[in-house]
């Protein structure tokens, strides 16, 4: 999982050629820390199709404000520099993985239709 900052956010996420999943988290949000291992797994499984990064909102507040992040954990899915999906709050691992897989599949299908 890539560590995102205010310096690398645009070059990594906004200019990414593949789908980028950004996990906005905070030091003060304990459940956020439980998401990391799930996202690491996902990132390995979808290597080449999906990039995964995490952004600490307390350290990089400009980015959090830019995307109006108020609840943690907060997952934003970017495609071609734009947010196309969002998952807010904690979910069980299985439920979360299914949700993310569905989102990825759907976006893949859209691509094929074009």
């Amino acid at each position: 999982m890539i560590k995102l900052t205010d310096k690398n956010f645009d070059s990594k996420v906004i200019n990414s050629k593949c789908i980028y999943l950004v996990d906005f988290w905070a030091e003060w949000c304990n459940p956020c820390k439980g998401m990391f291992s799930i996202l690491e797994k996902l990132s390995a499984e979808y290597k080449g199709q999906l990039k995964v990064g995490k952004l600490n909102v307390g350290k990089y507040p400009e980015i959090a404000a830019r995307f109006n992040i108020l609840s943690m954990p907060n997952l934003l899915f970017f495609k071609n520099g734009k947010v196309f999906e969002q998952i807010i709050g904690i979910e069980g691992e299985q439920k979360l993985l299914k949700k993310i897989k569905d989102i990825l599949q759907e976006s893949q299908m859209l691509k094929e239709e074009k």
Partner: protein, 107 residues
């Protein structure tokens, strides 16, 4: 003049949990837009309910322990404490009326 008190991980127990008065705690962050709408409301309440209610603000980025203890995941989050226990809460920016309704229940 009663200004909201600045709460920290260190003074929380003494100022909030051991307070004789009920306490309203505003969990906020400097980068959070809606927190700026709630801030002035909380300041007004500190003045209007002086003597009946203690009001404090806790910056979640500077104080990590207390937000974890209370499971804070959204900001602004407002917790109402009475005798060391959370008795009411508000999540997100809401009008002053909603604060007053909660306060009338607990004061």
């Amino acid at each position: 003049m009663n200004e909201p008190l600045e709460l920290t991980d260190d003074n929380f127990e003494q100022e909030v949990l051991n307070s004789d008065l009920p306490v309203l705690v505003d969990f906020w962050a400097s980068w959070c837009g809606p927190c700026k709408m709630v801030g002035p409301i909380v300041e007004e309440l500190a003045k209007e309910y002086a003597g009946q209610l203690k009001v404090g603000k806790l910056n979640v980025d500077n104080n990590g322990k207390i937000p974890i203890k209370y499971g804070i995941m959204s900001i602004p989050s407002l917790l109402f404490f009475k005798k060391g226990q959370v008795v009411e809460q508000i999540i997100g920016a809401v009008p002053k009326k909603s604060f007053v309704e909660k306060l009338e229940k607990i004061l």
